[in-house]
C-alpha cells in the first residue's frame, strides 16, 4: 500500500512540476542579451579550442588506431587552432554522437561543433545554434548491395532501410519516399556503427545517409565491390560548423577562418606557394594574408590568421583533396569553387 501511495504522490508531483513549468514558460522566451564574455576570449585564455567532431566517419573526422584525428572536419578544427595560436595541434577533440551534439554545444562542452552537421532552418532557429559557412555540399543517398539488383529508389519499394536516429536523413527519407509513394520500413539505429553492421548482415536492403558518408563507409567495408551507392540524391545536405547563438564575435572568427580557406583557393595560394604569396604585390592577397590592412585584428584575431591557416592545413581544395578527393575518389561537384561552376564562394576580404 505504502509503496504505491508514494509512487502515486511522486507521479502527481512530477506532473505538477511539469504543469507549473508549462505555465511559467511565457517568461522564458524573450530577447537574448548578448553575453559580454565571448567564447573567443575563453578560447584565447585557455590556449586551446575544444572541437566537437564525429570521430567515426572516415573523410570527415576519424580516429586512427594511433589516436590521431584525420578528416575534413578535423582539419577545420585545426584551422581554427592555427589561426588563433599558430599551432594546429592546440585542439581538444571531443567525439559526439548525433544525439548529444547539440546539447554538448549548448552546454558549452565544446566551443565549436564541426561534426558533418546539416544546416536546417529548424536547427538554426529553434535549437539555439548559429551555422557557419557550408564546407561540404552533400546530398542524401542510398547504399545497397549489388547482388540485390536495386538500381533506383523504386527498387526499394517494400524494403527495410537502415537509418540513423537524430539526423536529418531520418526525416528526408520519410519525406522523399512519401512524395514518390514508395512504401518502406525504417530500421532506426542510435549508433552509426551498429547501423552499418546490421546493414552488412542483411537486416536492411539499403542504408541511407549523406552520400559522402556512404562512399566512405562503402570503401571501408570488407568487399566494397559488393556494394553500390545509388545515383539518386534525395535531399540537400549542406554540412558545416556550428557555434552557439548570440556570440557574434566568436561566430565571426569561425566564419572568416572558414572563408579564408575558400578565398585562398580562389587566389590560388597553397601550402606550398604560401611563402611566394607572402611577397606578392596583389592587394587582394596582401589583405588576405594580413600584409595590408587590419582585417584580422579588427575582429580580435591575429592579423595574419589566414596565412597561419594556410600554412597549417592548406586551402579548401587541398583540404578536400587530402581528406575526401584522393582517398574516396569523390568528384568535387557542387564543392567546386564558384568560378568553376560550384558553390564554394567567399564574400570579399575587404
Amino acid at each position: 500500500m505504502r509503496k504505491w501511495i508514494s509512487l502515486l504522490l511522486a507521479t502527481a508531483l512530477t506532473a505538477a512540476v511539469a504543469v507549473a513549468c508549462a505555465s511559467s514558460s511565457d517568461t522564458a522566451g524573450g530577447d537574448g542579451a548578448a553575453d559580454g564574455n565571448s567564447v573567443l576570449n575563453t578560447v584565447l585564455d585557455r590556449g586551446s579550442v575544444i572541437c566537437g567532431v564525429n570521430g567515426q566517419l572516415p573523410g570527415f573526422s576519424f580516429v586512427d588506431s594511433g589516436g590521431e584525428y584525420s578528416g575534413m572536419d578535423a582539419d577545420y578544427c585545426r584551422a581554427i587552432a592555427a589561426a588563433l595560436f599558430d599551432d594546429p595541434s592546440k585542439v581538444e577533440f571531443r567525439n559526439l554522437s548525433a544525439q548529444e551534439r547539440f546539447t554538448a554545444l549548448a552546454a558549452g562542452e565544446v566551443d565549436v561543433l564541426i561534426r558533418n552537421t546539416t544546416w536546417t532552418i529548424n536547427r538554426d532557429t529553434a535549437l539555439g545554434l548559429e551555422f557557419m559557412p557550408t564546407t561540404f555540399y552533400d546530398g542524401q543517398g542510398m547504399l545497397v548491395t549489388t547482388a540485390s539488383g536495386v538500381k533506383d529508389l523504386k527498387g526499394l519499394s517494400g524494403k527495410s532501410i537502415c537509418v540513423q536516429s537524430g539526423t536529418t536523413t531520418e526525416q528526408n527519407l520519410t519525406d522523399s519516399f512519401r512524395k514518390q509513394n514508395i512504401p518502406f520500413t525504417p530500421v532506426v539505429f542510435d549508433d552509426e556503427d551498429a547501423l552499418y553492421s546490421a546493414f552488412t548482415q542483411g537486416r536492411c536492403q539499403a542504408a541511407t545517409s549523406d552520400r559522402s558518408q556512404l562512399t566512405a563507409r562503402r570503401k571501408s567495408l570488407p568487399n566494397p565491390d559488393n556494394y553500390a551507392v545509388l545515383d539518386d540524391v534525395i535531399s540537400k545536405e549542406p554540412l558545416g560548423a556550428a557555434v552557439r547563438n548570440n556570440d557574434s564575435k566568436w561566430a565571426d572568427a569561425v566564419k572568416w577562418i572558414t572563408y579564408s580557406t575558400f578565398q585562398a583557393e580562389e587566389l590560388d595560394i597553397t601550402q606550398a606557394s604560401l611563402a611566394q604569396a607572402e611577397s606578392s604585390a596583389d592587394p587582394e592577397v596582401k589583405r588576405l594574408l594580413g600584409k595590408e590592412g587590419t582585417l584580422g585584428t579588427d575582429m580580435g584575431l591575429p592579423n595574419d590568421f589566414a596565412a597561419r591557416v594556410i600554412k597549417a592545413v592548406g586551402n579548401y581544395g587541398e583540404i578536400y583533396d587530402r581528406n575526401i578527393g584522393t582517398p574516396f575518389a569523390l568528384e568535387r561537384g557542387l564543392n567546386e569553387l564558384w568560378t568553376d561552376g560550384g558553390l564554394i564562394y567567399s564574400p570579399p576580404f575587404r
Binding site: 513549468c21 514558460s25 522564458a28 537574448g32 520500413t185 532506426v188
Partner: protein, 383 residues
C-alpha cells in the same frame, strides 16, 4: 518540563520545526536556482518551453508499430506508438518470464542432478552478465544471423522467418473476423465464469456439476466455430520480400527474448526461495495423503509459496518494465527511443524528459497496483 523555561535553541519542538523549514527552504532555493538557470540558458540560446510541439507532424518513420502510423502524424501519435510498443514488450515479457522462471525455479529443486545443475548454470550466467550485453548478443548473433529476407525460411503455417523478423498468418480486419473474435472472447469469458461456478457448486454442495459441464462443452463448440470463422491472412513471399500477415520484427523478438531470459533467471531464484520457504511438513503431509509429487507441488506447495513470492516478484516485474527501455540499444522503437528521437528533432529536452519520467512512473504504478491486488487475494484470510 512545562514549568521550566527551555531556551529556544534547546527546545526539541522548535528545533524540529526549524530544521524542517530549513531543509525545505534549501530544497526550494536549489530548485529556484535551477529554474532560474534554465531560464537564463534558454534565453541565451533563444529556446522556449511548451508542449505545443506534440501536435506538429513527426516526419520520421517508425519501423515497428502496432497501431496505424504514418510520418505525417503528430509527435503525440509517434509517442503513442512508442508507448504501445513498450507495453507490448512488457506484457508479453512478464507473461513468458513468469512461466520460464517458474519452470527453472522448480528445476533448480529437482531430484534430478543434471537438471538441477543445468538450471543453476543458466541462472548464474544470466544473472551475472549485463542485460545490454545479452541483448546485443541475441540481436546480432541470434536474430541478425538468420537468413536474409531474400532467402527466407518457410515454416508451416505459412510462416516466414528471416533476419527481418517473423511473418505469421493473422486474422484480417474484416467484419467476419471481428464477429468471430467477439464470439470467441465472449465464450471464453463465459466459460471461465461457469468453470468457477461449477467448482463452487461441486465444492460447497457436493453436486455433480454435470449441467455446467455440458454448458462448458457447448461453449467449447461455439469457440471452435468462431475460431474457424476467423478470416486469416497468410504472408506471401514474392520479389525477395514478404508481405501480409503479422510482422514481428527481429528487434522486437530480440528485446522480448532478452528480457524474458534475463528476468526469468531472477524469477527462478524468487520461486526457488518461495518453495523452500514452505515447511517440509507440507510435503510430508501430502505424501502421507497419497498425493503425487506433481499434484502436491501444484495444489499444496505452490499456493503457499505464492505468498512469499509475490513481493519480490513485483520488483522483478518492475525491473522488466524499466529494462524494456534498453530497446534503444537494438533499434526497437519503444517509448524511450522515440522520445530521444523527438528530443533530437525538436530540442525540447525538458519536456521530453518529463514525459518519459511520468510515463515510466505511471507504468510502474500500474504494475505495483495490480500486484498489490493479487497479493491481497493470495494472502491468508484469517477467519
Amino acid at each position: 518540563m512545562d514549568e521550566q523555561k527551555v531556551p529556544l535553541w534547546r527546545d526539541d519542538r522548535f528545533l524540529k520545526i526549524a530544521g524542517q523549514v530549513l531543509v525545505l527552504l534549501v530544497v526550494l532555493i536549489i530548485a529556484a536556482i535551477m529554474v532560474n538557470n534554465v531560464t537564463v540558458n534558454f534565453r541565451k540560446l533563444g529556446l522556449n518551453f511548451g508542449f505545443g510541439f506534440i501536435n506538429s507532424p513527426a516526419s520520421f518513420g517508425i519501423g515497428d508499430s502496432a497501431i496505424p502510423y504514418s510520418s505525417t502524424d503528430s509527435f503525440g501519435r509517434a509517442l503513442l506508438v512508442g508507448l504501445v510498443n513498450t507495453l507490448r514488450v512488457i506484457i508479453f515479457g512478464i507473461l513468458f518470464a513468469t512461466v520460464l522462471g517458474i519452470i527453472v525455479g522448480i528445476a533448480r529443486l529437482s531430484d534430478n542432478w543434471l537438471v538441477r545443475k543445468l538450471a543453476s548454470v543458466y541462472v548464474e550466467i544470466f544473472r551475472n552478465t549485463p542485460l545490454l550485453l545479452q541483448l546485443f548478443f541475441i540481436y546480432t548473433v541470434g536474430f541478425l544471423s538468420l537468413p536474409r529476407v531474400a532467402d527466407s525460411m518457410q515454416l508451416p503455417g505459412p510462416t516466414f522467418l528471416s533476419n527481418q523478423g517473423i511473418y505469421l498468418p493473422w486474422p484480417t480486419g474484416s467484419v467476419r473476423t471481428w464477429i468471430a473474435l467477439a464470439l470467441l472472447v465472449a465464450s471464453l469469458v463465459l466459460a471461465a465464469v461457469f468453470w468457477q461456478r461449477r467448482l463452487k457448486v461441486m465444492e460447497l454442495e457436493g453436486a455433480s456439476g454435470n449441467g455446467y459441464r455440458n454448458l462448458l462443452l457447448g461453449l467449447g463448440a461455439v469457440a471452435l466455430v468462431a475460431l474457424l470463422g476467423l478470416e486469416w491472412q497468410a504472408p506471401a513471399f514474392a520479389n525477395a520480400a514478404v508481405t501480409g500477415g503479422l510482422h514481428l520484427s527481429s528487434e522486437f523478438g530480440a528485446l522480448l527474448l532478452g528480457l524474458v531470459l534475463y528476468t526469468a533467471a531472477f524469477i527462478a531464484e524468487t520461486v526457488r526461495a518461495g518453495i523452500q520457504s514452505v515447511s517440509k511438513g507440507q510435503w510430508e503431509a501430502s505424501k502421507a495423503l497419497g498425493i503425487s509429487s506433481g499434484q502436491a507441488m501444484r495444489l499444496v506447495i505452490f499456493p503457499q509459496a505464492m505468498r512469499v513470492m509475490i513481493p519480490p516478484l513485483t520488483s522483478e516485474f518492475l525491473n522488466l518494465a524499466k529494462n524494456s527501455s534498453l530497446a534503444a540499444g537494438i533499434a526497437y522503437g519503444d517509448f524511450f527511443q522515440i522520445s530521444t528521437t523527438i528530443n533530437n528533432q525538436t530540442g525540447r529536452v525538458i519536456e521530453v524528459v518529463m514525459l518519459v519520467m511520468i510515463t515510466y512512473l505511471t507504468i510502474n504504478l500500474i504494475i505495483s497496483l495490480g500486484m498489490n491486488l493479487l497479493n491481497q487475494r493470495v494472502q491468508l484470510t484469517e477467519r
